[in-house]
Amino acid sequence: MRSELLKGHLDLLVLTALRSEPGHGYVVLDRLRRLSDGEFSLPEGTIYPALHRLERDGLLRSHQTQHQGRTRRVYSLTPAGKKALVGKRAEWERFTAGIARTLEAAG
């Protein structure tokens, strides 16, 4: 899938990848790949600006840990992030359903 398209949905995808448990950037990308059966494969460097922005917007929070001598930042959903995920998902489902109906009606 074109990465420009993916970027448009990055918030929803990142929030979804972190829904069940916290994770660092590499894990988020890996979950996206696995959850999408490989369909979503972003240029890896694009994930961090998105994570930072979502944190700045209060939808994610992060904390540092140490892993094999390296600093690792682990992200998790905030209550606002969980709420936003529900809203974005519902919005997405309404939207895709509308597109599907339109396409179907057009034959």
């Binding site: 970027k7 490989g38 494969s41 890896e44 998105a50 600093t71 930042r73």
Partner: protein
């Protein structure tokens, strides 16, 4: 080139991020963790440490791109979200048809059954002649795109070979100096394509396979190369079953002779020929062979392996698409080979695969 590509990358990224001092340290720490984790994962897959670092770096994107994306993302997000409408249409089109063009067994598969065989770079250290991007599925294999990477001047030119029904790509090693790209460079090239292709509208499917092998048609014709036309002593991806090297020039092959020979060989191993046709790819004659048997599992595990049998063909493995189906048309095995110019795509139905590792 240093012996620590990740450190080198971080230094470059640090320079690019210079204007964003607020996030600089945090970003660098996160990127380093990411790259080392990615390299560790690649190493666990059997890739040597230095190559693993280089592949991890290549997959991350250039420092400039990463830094620029930070800026763009802050200003364009709203615009991107406004583009959702256009996006969904494309996504719908993709789910409906993209990737299935030309698949001889497309009618057997559905999008919901797609299971990427691998998203890993299986052999980035190979002496790459080509990169094949495939999407394998439970009951078949589609060709979303096959990519030909041509080395030599102009350096690093990517040529997209649009979807073909035979999953075949042939590449001539055209390095002007007659040399071969270092293995790590080939791996980087492949990884770079895998990373960058989507943003250029090129297809990237579920897996990427980088095959080892190299050679030139000139070497073959002059008798300087091995049976596959590659420089002697260099591994080629395609096994040659013949004890006596057979030289075959696919640009002058006779289709009628080839058909007779293939038919005989297929019968000799107990398969039923469903179809044999020929495609012309870049001036090469490529047999597209579809066979069937009620017991693919036995055939796949036969000894000597079927590859050795077909390797005795006059054409050896010089470019052949071979598909083995159940009588109902469900594909059990697909092989697309090329030698001398090094390429190949393979699929074995997972439940039949004696060696599930890519």
């Amino acid at each position: 080139m240093t012996d620590d590509p990740i450190r080198e990358y971080l230094a470059e990224l640090g320079k690019e991020l210079g204007r964003f001092a607020r996030h600089r340290r945090r970003t660098l720490a996160e990127v380093e963790d990411h790259l080392r984790e990615a390299a560790r994962s690649l190493e666990a897959g059997g890739i040597e440490p230095l190559a693993a670092q280089r592949v991890a770096v290549a997959a991350f994107g250039s420092p400039r791109q990463v830094a620029q994306f930070r800026v763009r993302h802050r200003t364009l997000t709203r615009g991107m979200l406004m583009a959702i409408g256009a996006g969904v249409v494309v996504i719908a089109a993709s789910a409906a048809g993209f990737g299935w063009i030309g698949n001889p067994s497309a009618h057997h598969v559905s999008a919901t059954r797609m299971t990427p065989k691998s998203t890993a770079i299986s052999d980035p250290t190979g002496g790459v002649g080509a990169v094949a991007l495939v999407r394998s599925i439970e009951s078949g294999l589609s060709t979303g795109g096959i990519v030909r990477v041509r080395f030599g001047p102009p350096p690093g030119v990517y040529l997209r070979q649009t979807s073909k029904p035979w999953m075949y790509v042939r590449l001539t090693q055209v390095d002007a100096a007659g040399g071969v790209k270092p293995e790590w460079e080939a791996g980087l090239l492949a990884a770079a394509y895998y990373t960058q292709a989507p943003s250029h509208g090129l297809p990237v499917e579920g897996g990427m396979y980088v095959y080892r092998g190299q050679g030139t048609l000139a070497a073959l014709r002059s008798g300087q190369g091995d049976a596959n036309g590659g420089p002697i002593g260099v591994d080629n991806v395609v096994p040659v079953g013949a004890t006596t090297p057979v030289r075959f020039d696919p640009t002058t092959a006779d289709a009628a002779d080839l058909r007779r020979s293939l038919t005989h060989s297929i019968q000799s191993v107990g398969l039923t020929t469903r179809s044999i046709r020929f495609e012309h790819v870049d001036g090469y004659l490529v047999p597209v062979v579809v066979t069937e048997t009620p017991d693919p599992a036995t055939f796949i595990r036969r000894d000597p392996p079927f590859s050795a049998v077909l390797g005795r063909e006059p054409n050896g493995y010089e470019g052949i698409y071979f598909q083995l189906d159940y009588p109902d048309g469900q594909p059990a095995l697909i092989r697309a080979f090329a030698s001398r110019t090094a390429s190949g795509v393979s699929y074995t139905k997972p439940s039949l695969n004696p060696d599930p590792t890519p």
